[in-house]
């Protein structure tokens, strides 16, 4: 079983690496690059919302700040927006810190509400500031236009995000994060400094969402505040991607992003203006019948089968 899993993973990586050599059509590559960006956002959100149980309704703030960090470098200083891939994530971390330090001391929905406000504050701020070129947004002339290049950049960024998140979750920090999600009092009684560890989940989450934002700026080459700080299309979408794929699973957000983007495209091209309606109904159905998300349900099924086997061997009673 372990060998099989390993083989499956290697196969997946090989496919991911050679895919753009097979699929050369720009449209299909464009869809896959969007999936990568959404998978990064979902994986980051999942670390905070899925594993630590701190739901954020404002990841657009981190995404937008990451994107604008790249855009403003070019706009004001003429520096290549690729430096934004470095600056963006750190800028997102800096804005996440005050919210975490204040809101994580409280229990209840305060963090979710603070994040909701943060996203909207940034949207309004960036619309009205001259420094950010207001609602006109920022347009850059990309030096590289080959889709294949962006494919590999996106793939590497996603691999980095999933890799680091995996390492965090499968370490002492991960155990502490899940403990906080399951019961904060119990976590405190085990000597876990809960405020500190919630911040340790928030920082990488903001970091990688900022990375996705900077990548988006470089790839799409145009942003305005209503696109990158959008509540329903970024913040809520981040939650949807994770819910659909599987909360607190390694691959859930990636699977969720793939299904979301592909279904969205299919509906948009075939159903015309009814696409949003059908999409909405489908999302409701999935949440109703697959409450653990697709990867989550598969994991449950696997666990169920494993237990059944164990039970048959006479191990577990009661």
């Amino acid at each position: 079983m372990k060998n099989f899993n390993l083989a499956l993973k290697i196969l997946l990586v090989v496919i991911a690496v050679i895919l753009p050599l097979v699929i050369k059509a720009p449209y299909q590559l464009h869809i896959i690059i969007l999936i990568f960006i959404w998978a990064i956002i979902g994986t980051s959100w999942n670390l905070l919302g899925g594993y630590t149980g701190q739901v954020s309704f404002g990841h657009a703030a981190f995404f937008g700040v990451g994107a604008y960090a790249a855009g403003l470098l070019q706009f004001h200083l003429g520096v290549s927006p690729w430096w934004g891939m470095l600056l963006g994530p750190f800028a997102a971390m800096v804005i996440s810190l005050p919210i975490g330090l204040i809101a994580f001391r409280l229990r209840g929905p305060y963090f979710a509400l603070a994040m909701l406000a943060l996203g909207e504050i940034f949207r309004l701020l960036f619309i009205n500031l001259a420094f950010t070129n207001g609602a006109k947004g920022i347009l850059i002339m990309p030096e590289i236009t080959s889709k294949m290049f962006y494919y590999y950049v996106g793939l590497s960024a996603l691999a980095l995000t999933i890799g680091i998140t995996y390492l965090i979750v499968h370490s002492k920090i991960g155990f502490y994060l899940v403990s906080i999600r399951e019961d904060q009092d119990a976590a405190t009684s085990l000597g876990i400094p809960t405020t500190l560890y919630k911040n340790l989940a928030l920082l990488p989450s903001a970091f990688f969402t900022g990375l996705a934002g900077a990548l988006y700026m470089n790839y799409v080459a145009f942003i305005d505040p209503n696109i990158v700080f959008n509540l329903s299309n970024i913040s809520v979408m981040a939650i949807m991607v994770v819910m659909l794929g599987g909360v607190a699973t390694t691959w859930g957000p990636t699977v969720g992003a793939a299904i979301y983007i592909i279904l969205g495209e299919v509906f948009r091209t075939t159903l015309g203006s009814a696409n949003v309606l059908v999409f909405g109904v489908l999302v409701c159905l999935i949440i109703l019948f697959l409450p653990n998300g697709i990867v989550g349900e598969l994991d449950m099924l696997r666990g169920f089968l494993a237990r059944k086997k164990e039970g048959a061997a006479g191990g577990v009673k009661i």
Binding site: H170, S171, K172, F175, Y176, V178, S179, E182, D183, D185, A186, A187, T188, S189, L190, G191, I192, P193, T194, E310, G315, V316, K317, I318
Partner: protein
């Protein structure tokens, strides 16, 4: 030598003094029982020691170090573990993972935490349920898991809050056997329990409280014959 010493601790909720001017000490290696009628402040005492509630006034010393100003998570770090009356298992984690979450306090290595957890799971007789999700366990096992998890943090003093509540006689006997086993391993224990027979049998000393104040403190024999204790439990006619 006193391991834990409480000096005039008081906890008020608004105008109500849940604990008032209570002083007691716990010696190393003993089991101190805390008894009292419902609502007398037993669990509040625990919550004050473990810093879940800040004290209104008074001082707490653990190994001669003042602890009533430490943050709640530090209490476990200096060696005081606790369980909850209403059990708080980490529901969607397995038994092994629950205990590992405790063991991580003293190590950062996954391997060491797992070894430690397995040792404690065996000590508490939970091997059979190691891979079960905590939420699927029945109450007696959840209570046992609660103890295992706090043992994993290597405490010197263990606060057990109603470990036998809600258990049938056979299950509470097993729980008591486990508590004795923990004491024999050299742990100091403060225990809150309702079943008098249990308390008289395992406690070295007993602290009886009512309305947040001490009414008797001494050997089980002394306390059970104390007129105030009889009055609190049975009424004036029997005192």
């Amino acid at each position: 030598m006193s391991l834990l010493e409480a000096r005039d601790i008081t906890k008020k909720f608004g105008g109500l003094a849940a604990v008032s001017n209570l002083s007691f000490n716990v010696n190393k290696g003993e089991i101190l029982g805390v008894i009292g009628p419902n609502g007398s402040g037993k669990t509040t005492v625990f919550n004050c020691i473990s810093r879940f509630f800040p004290l209104t006034s008074g001082e707490l010393y653990f190994k001669d170090q003042r602890i009533d100003e430490l943050p709640a998570h530090k209490i476990c770090d200096i060696g005081i573990g606790r369980t909850f009356q209403v059990v708080k298992p980490l529901k969607r984690m397995s038994v092994e993972e629950n205990v590992m979450a405790g063991a991580f306090l003293r190590t950062s290595s996954m391997h060491k935490a797992r070894l430690k957890a397995n040792e404690i799971i065996e000590f508490c007789g939970l091997e059979k349920y190691k891979y079960r999700e905590a939420k699927s366990l029945p109450i007696p096992l959840r209570k046992r898991l609660e103890i295992a998890r706090s043992l994993a943090t290597d405490p010197e003093l263990l606060l057990l809050d109603e470990t036998c509540a809600g258990l049938n006689p056979k299950e509470s006997e097993e729980a008591i056997a486990l508590i004795r086993k923990i004491r024999d391993a050299g742990m100091t224990i403060i225990i809150v329990e309702h079943i008098m027979k249990v308390m008289m049998g395992i406690s070295d000393r007993i602290l009886a409280i009512n309305f947040g104040s001490m009414i008797a403190f001494g050997s089980p024999q002394e306390v059970s014959n104390h007129p105030e204790v009889i009055r609190a439990y049975l009424g004036d006619a029997y005192a």
